[in-house]
Amino acid sequence: MRARAYWPVTVAAALLVGLLAYGLTTTGADTTLDSATAKGERVDPPTAASLPVLGGSGSGSLADYRGKVVLVNVWASWCAPCRDELPLIQKAHKMLSARGGTVVGIDVKENSGAALEAVDEFGLTFPNLRDRDGSFVREWGQTGYPENYVIDREGRVAAVRRFPVTQKWLDETLPPLLEESA
């Protein structure tokens, strides 16, 4: 009799615990990329989703740049460290574009007007895609701003930087990849 009275409470508690567990497992950052690239492995990008082009019509994908070394720069104009980093990223783009590579910016969580103002302000000449709500970079295990990912000529992720880049890191990471053939 006593057991009969308690079973709905037990089922409800089990459901609640299940719901919490599901919520927790689906909100944590994915560290797969970090551990793989730290071991020197090259891995496929977590997503090949298309994103709207900033300041243009239609959409674009990182897959469009296959055959090039791509420095993916995650940025937003409201992010002060991103703004500090942008001149260095633009400089890297100049170097890359002369050697069969490019920077692709992923502008996150801001309206296109604000993003385009920053493009003008910093004289950015690399293409930018818009991750309107941050769901794209979330697939990459994003933990903050800015972040940078390097993709080799075969479209595999070769390096991940979860905080602002330095010239030293760029000099160590990009040239060996540029030497590789597609």
């Binding site: 937003a76 104009s77 296109s112 604000a114 769901s135």
Partner: protein
């Protein structure tokens, strides 16, 4: 007759803009803020102080200054930031639980109230029947009689 008709027409012309304004009230930042999310903080805009929230507020203020209604502002926000910018949860995936849990809770509460009410009705004496059994009635009469003495 013509004068009355003209007066009525004039009144209609004067009242029409007011009626239109009432149908689509002018949006205000404070009214919209609690229905919009700060995308970076994961909280409603009215309790967020981050740079992202400031930029979203600025965007909303510009749209309001352009004379947009609340609906138009929210549509523009979704177009720029995606559907997650609205505080309302979406109706698929994990967010579906935000709709289902209150609904199931309300149904459960309704079932509980109905069940309890039916039990109470079943326990209550039906009109016309004695509320006490014979033994209790006899004891009550005896005790009341003792008071009368």
């Amino acid at each position: 007759m013509t004068r009355a008709l003209l007066t009525a027409l004039l009144a209609l012309l004067l009242l029409a803009p007011a009626a239109a304004a009432a149908a689509a009230p002018r949006a205000s930042l404070t009214d919209i803020e609690d229905e919009v999310m700060c995308l970076e903080c994961g909280t409603a805009l009215n309790v967020s102080n981050s740079e992202v929230a400031d930029q979203e507020r600025e965007f909303i203020a510009v749209l309001i200054a352009q004379g947009m209604t609340k609906r138009q502002v929210k549509d523009a926000l979704v177009a720029e930031y995606g559907p997650r910018v609205l505080a309302e949860p979406s109706d698929d995936g994990f967010e579906l639980t935000a709709w289902l849990v209150p609904l199931l809770g309300a149904l459960g509460a309704l079932a509980l109230v109905t069940f309890t009410a039916r039990r109470w009705r079943g326990a209550r004496p039906v009109d016309g029947e004695p509320a006490l059994d014979a033994e209790d009635a006899r004891r009550l009469d005896a005790e009341l009689a003792a008071f009368d003495r």
